[in-house]
Symmetry: C3
Amino acid sequence: MNIYTKTGDKGKTRIIGKKVLAKDDDRIEAYGSVDELNSDVGLAISLLGEKTNSLHDELEEIQQLLFDAGHDLAMLADDQNHPFIFDPASITWLEKKIDQYMKVVPPIKKFILPGGTRLASTLHIARTVTRRVERRIVALQSHSKINPDVLVFINRLSDYFFACARYANFLDHQSDVVYRNSHTIFR
Amino acid sequence: MNIYTKTGDKGKTRIIGKKVLAKDDDRIEAYGSVDELNSDVGLAISLLGEKTNSLHDELEEIQQLLFDAGHDLAMLADDQNHPFIFDPASITWLEKKIDQYMKVVPPIKKFILPGGTRLASTLHIARTVTRRVERRIVALQSHSKINPDVLVFINRLSDYFFACARYANFLDHQSDVVYRNSHTIFR
Amino acid sequence: MNIYTKTGDKGKTRIIGKKVLAKDDDRIEAYGSVDELNSDVGLAISLLGEKTNSLHDELEEIQQLLFDAGHDLAMLADDQNHPFIFDPASITWLEKKIDQYMKVVPPIKKFILPGGTRLASTLHIARTVTRRVERRIVALQSHSKINPDVLVFINRLSDYFFACARYANFLDHQSDVVYRNSHTIFR
Ligand code: B12
Ligand code: B12
Ligand code: B12
Ligand SMILES: C[C@H]1O[C@@H](n2cnc3c(N)ncnc32)[C@H](O)[C@@H]1O
Ligand SMILES: C[C@H]1O[C@@H](n2cnc3c(N)ncnc32)[C@H](O)[C@@H]1O
Ligand SMILES: C[C@H]1O[C@@H](n2cnc3c(N)ncnc32)[C@H](O)[C@@H]1O
Ligand SMILES: [Mg+2]
Ligand SMILES: [Mg+2]
Ligand SMILES: [Mg+2]
């Protein structure tokens, strides 16, 4: 197997359905960013420890779901040969996880500094890269039809990573540091 | 507390002062990038060790300052209800740290490869992400008034992370590798 | 030596050849992203272990080459005083490494989740950041002449990081996880 086909050496590439785009197209930027985020999640998984291993399966599930999301972004919405595959049930699945973690972590009223353990810090990186992905999908959406469920999922996913980072710190007995100039932010 | 409000599920969001913007707006990109950088600093803190723990307090202070910077980017410059909060004294505070570290690390005349220990490598990542943040703020500034002190601080902060990365390697007895084709760059 | 010259405090900066550009110029974005990628490679090097130390020299060589690539992006193609320095022989050097690693890792027909060990995960991050760099170079190329060898190298480099991530997992006896909904992708 040869992975380098050299076909993209001049800056163009193909999407699902074989249409050719410049590599700096908003669509390539969107699913390329999903791929970057997926790698950050991979790193988070590699940092799981004894106290946090319960997060393994759901983080791997998120990697699977990010591929489904990437698929739908890598095709044209009106492509007759390729239906969307992203399952919106994943959104409520995420919401349940968020509710579960928010219930057990110490309540906060103010912003916290993104950090703590190596795992929690990496989850905060995943959180902020998820938000970058969201911005890229919104840019694509401003001129091209997309699967709206993917955007909802990505919005929820950054909230999941916030809850999950806090939960990871909680499991490792690491407390979050409050932003000293924060107003009352969370209700 | 419910962190997912679902109000942003279609790609719009609110800034300080309640104005609604598309999530791919230059302003959201600017303070979203500050949030990503802040998470990288969180990761650096989680990597401090015995020899480098003296950096803890200043890195956490930088996290606090990044929130102040983010605040000023998340509001309109002419918003009558919200004054800027970023304190320019933080710039000279950073400069003193830079001077201090540059004095003790081995002098160089050439570019060095960004790396060394895990901590120093992460500080180099923070350095380059700070420079990405700077580019995003400059893009925002090309059409919207911003707090100019924030831009100065961010420019200085990337130089701080360069000095700090070198200092972290120095503390851990790790030497920097020179870029072999470098001209004489530093005077 | 004073690294902070304050000349860039308002958002402009100089390239090789002394031309002044806004910091959000596509050219600054391109070589600034190369610098970020270079730092990710630095982090990967810091994660090498007993079983993977054989990768040290080539990863450091890649850091050197990224500086050569950055040089050519930081100058105007028609600058009479500065010739391009990137050596295209590095492309075939990379291709040999890819062939070598692809031969020894377990063959796959489907996409795999980007992850595994900390090292492999970081190499996947380098892979996806390389692809971001490629997108930024293509954006620059849409209006300015660049060294085409640099673009070919960057395209090949992301395939190298894919092969290298898989090889790193192989060396550490870590198996890759398949994307469950993947079609037959690799031939
Ligand atoms: C989208 C995409 C991605 C996305 C994945 C999308 C997502 N879900 O997030 C991302 C960006 C992550 C990605 C990454 C990579 N990709 Co990719 N990707 C594609 C792309 C455009 C579509 C693949 C896909 O999803 N197909 C799904 C179905 C719905 O597509 P389809 O159009 O109906 O066609 C399929 C079938 O008809 C079938 N098929 C058609 N004819 C035949 C004939 C036979 C005999 C068989 C068996 C099958 C078959 O195969 C087709 C391809 O899937 C293909 C190129 C292309 N246009 O096919 C490259 C492609 C599969 N990728 C390729 C490569 C090299 C990679 C990377 C290694 C690049 C890198 N260095 O990072 C990584 C690997 C990532 C990983 N973790 O494993 C190469 C593989 C080359 C090879 N050896 O075969 C391809 C073919 C592009 C190319 N260079 O030509 N990729
Ligand atoms: C800017 C901002 C951010 C920035 C922070 C800015 C910075 N410094 O870098 C960033 C991007 C980092 C951020 C991140 C997050 N944010 Co935010 N953020 C905001 C935003 C727009 C302003 C907050 C702020 O700085 N206020 C400062 C003062 C000056 O603002 P103000 O307009 O004067 O209004 C305040 C007061 O009037 C007061 N107030 C008004 N009426 C009342 C009534 C009562 C009873 C009380 C007590 C107070 C009160 O509260 C207002 C809000 O602060 C608000 C939305 C909004 N427009 O208020 C969301 C908001 C606070 N964020 C929210 C969320 C969920 C998050 C994240 C978890 C998102 C994520 N998944 O990453 C993270 C958490 C980060 C962390 N580390 O803790 C939610 C909180 C929902 C909730 N449960 O209440 C909000 C409300 C947005 C929303 N979805 O509606 N955020
Ligand atoms: C391109 C560039 C980068 C690129 C490197 C490019 C790449 N290969 O990827 C990147 C983005 C990585 C970079 C990073 C940094 N850079 Co830089 N960079 C430059 C730039 C624009 C060109 C340097 C270069 O490659 N020169 C190569 C040759 C071909 O250039 P040249 O035009 O022919 O000119 C050289 C010679 O003529 C010679 N020269 C001319 N007159 C004289 C006189 C004497 C006496 C001597 C000895 C030499 C000499 O020196 C010139 C400069 O190299 C210079 C500014 C400039 N315009 O020179 C800053 C510059 C060298 N960078 C600077 C700084 C501070 C940094 C960073 C620390 C910033 C940061 N916080 O991250 C990092 C350090 C990175 C590292 N790992 O070591 C400063 C150094 C200040 C100082 N103390 O001297 C400069 C001078 C910019 C400035 N602020 O004015 N940089
Ligand atoms: C918590 C706050 O973060 C901002 N916000 C919402 N979505 C994003 C995103 N994708 N990227 C960066 N910032 C975002 C809004 O201002 C919101 O109110
Ligand atoms: C050291 C060199 O880096 C470039 N430079 C200055 N600011 C930035 C930034 N925010 N991002 C990327 N590159 C930058 C300029 O060319 C400067 O001279
Ligand atoms: C493997 C698939 O990844 C996409 N592709 C090719 N180059 C890039 C890049 N620089 N960034 C993101 N995606 C890219 C194309 O769709 C290719 O077929
Ligand atoms: Mg949101
Ligand atoms: Mg600078
Ligand atoms: Mg490619």
